[in-house]
Symmetry: C2
Subunit: 307 residues, 2 copies
Amino acid sequence: MFIGIDIGGTNIKGVLTNKGGEIFSSASIPTGKTADDIENGIVSLIDVMTDSKSLPKRSIKALGIGAAGAVDCKKGVIITSPNIRAWENYPLANRIERRVGIRVFLENDATVAVIGEWWMGQGRKYRNWIMLTLGTGVGGGAVIDNKLYTGQSGSSMEFGHMTIDYKGRKCKCGNIGCLEQYASASAIVNSARIALKKDRTSSIHKKIESDEARKGDTLAVKLVEEMSYFLGIGVANLVNIFNPEAVILGGGLSRDHRIIIPVVRRVVNERALPGLKDNVKYLAIKNEDKAPALGAAKIAMDSLQHF
Amino acid sequence: MFIGIDIGGTNIKGVLTNKGGEIFSSASIPTGKTADDIENGIVSLIDVMTDSKSLPKRSIKALGIGAAGAVDCKKGVIITSPNIRAWENYPLANRIERRVGIRVFLENDATVAVIGEWWMGQGRKYRNWIMLTLGTGVGGGAVIDNKLYTGQSGSSMEFGHMTIDYKGRKCKCGNIGCLEQYASASAIVNSARIALKKDRTSSIHKKIESDEARKGDTLAVKLVEEMSYFLGIGVANLVNIFNPEAVILGGGLSRDHRIIIPVVRRVVNERALPGLKDNVKYLAIKNEDKAPALGAAKIAMDSLQHF
C-alpha cells in the first residue's frame, strides 16, 4: 500500500492506494497557515486513512507528497514556496519521515497532477500531451513521446511564467506579462476587485470563488471567460510549440471547464497555426479531487524501486 | 554518397557528403524567384557537385531537401510556403526525383538546421537543447532526451509564432504579437524603415542587411540589439518551458551572435525563473553556411533505411 498527499492552497488531500491505482481510502483537511499546521495536517490525514482500514503504518511502503513551489526532489527539500513563507530550504520529506516512520518522496504539485492524470486519467490515451494546472498560479507539464519531460534540472515546466504581454502586468517572479497574471484564480480575484468597484449588484461581492460561476453569476462567468481568453493565448503558444494530441486542464479552476474550454478552443483556432492546431483535444482532468494525490503516490512507488 | 540541399530565402546551398559527415564538395546559387528557377537551381547544384568529383549520379544514394514552409514529409509535398507563392501543395520531391533519378526526401528548413547541428555541430554535446533559426522568419526545433521532438503531426516547432504581446503587431499567420514580428530579419528591416525616416545620416540607408552590424554602423547595431531584446523575451519563455542545457541560434542573423547573445542572456536572466535559467548555454550554430544542407543529407540517409 502507498499514500499520496497533495498540499493545495486550500486543502490537503490524501489517498491510500495500491500499485493498481485503486483508492481504498481518501481524506481532506484544510491546509492551515503555518509550516507546523501543514505537517500536523499531513500526519493526521495519514492516521485517518490507515485507521479507517485498520492498517498498521508499517504496511505503507512509501508516501509521496506534492507541494507548490520549487522543490529539490532528490533531497526532499522545498527550496521556496509561493504560499508558505517558512518553507525556505525546508526539509519537509525528512521531517514527515521522522514523525510517521514511512519513506517520503517530495515532488512539485503540477508534476504530481500530470503523473496522476497520466497514470489513472485521460493522459493514458495519448503519447504527446500537455497539462496546465489552474490554481492560485499556473503550473504545468508535458508528456512527450510517453515520457514526462523534466528538463536538465528535473523541474516541471513553468507555463505560468510565459510572457504574453512583454510590457504588461508585473509578476511576483520578477518578469512582466506572465500568463499567470492573466489566467489564474488570483487573476480572477484581481479582476473581480476592479469590476466590483463598478458593479455593486453582483453576488460575487459576498464571496469570490469559482463556485460562483456555476451558480450563474453574470460577473463571475464574465471573469472566468476573460481569464479563459488569456489562457487561450498561452495555450495557442504551447500548441504552436508542442503540437500535442491533447491539452488537459487541471487545478481547482478546471472545474469550470464548461466555460473555459470553448473559449480556449476558439482563441487557439484564431491564433495558432494550421497543421499544428488541427487535431488537438481539450479536456479537463478526470478527477481533479484525487488525481494529484494519486500522482504523488505513484511517484513514491516508482521512486522506491530506485533505492 | 549523399547530397543535402538547403533552400534559403537568398541562396540555395548544397553539400556532397558521406555517412561520416565529411564534406567532399559544396556549392551555392541564388535562390531565384519562381518555382522553375528553384528547381533548375537545385538540378544545377547537383550537377556542379557531382561533376567536381567526377561522380556518376547513380553513386548518390539519396538527396535531402530543406525548404521553408509547411511540408508533408511523407509525401514530399510543400503544403504552403511563405516565400514562393506557386508552392501550394507542390510535389517538389517527386519533380526533382524525376529530373535527377535520385531518391528525394523533403523536410522543413528549421528541422534540417537542427538535424545538421545535432549531427555535426554543437548539438552533439547536449541531450536537451533548443534551436531558434533567425532569418526572414523565426523557426526552431527541440532535441529532447536526445530525440528530435516533432509533435503529433511531425511538424517542427513554431517558436516564431509565440505571442509575446497579445495586442501587438499583426502577423501574416493571422495571430497578433508573434515573436517573429519583433525578432527576425524582416522585423529589423521594418524597424530600419521607421528609424531611417528619423535618421538620414546612417549608412544603412544605402543597404539594409545584417552585414552592416559588423561594419559598426550605429543604427544597424542598435536595430540588432533591439531585435535581440525581443528575442530574449521569447527565449526566456522557452527556458521556462524546456529548462534546456543549451539554446543554439541558427539562420542568417546568427552571424551577428556577438551582438545578439549578450543581450539575449541578459534578458533571460531578468525574466526567466531561477533554477530554470541557471545552467543554460547560449551558442551560435557552428557552421551556419553548411549545417542545414548537412542536416538535409542526414535526413535522406536516415529515411532511406526505412524503405
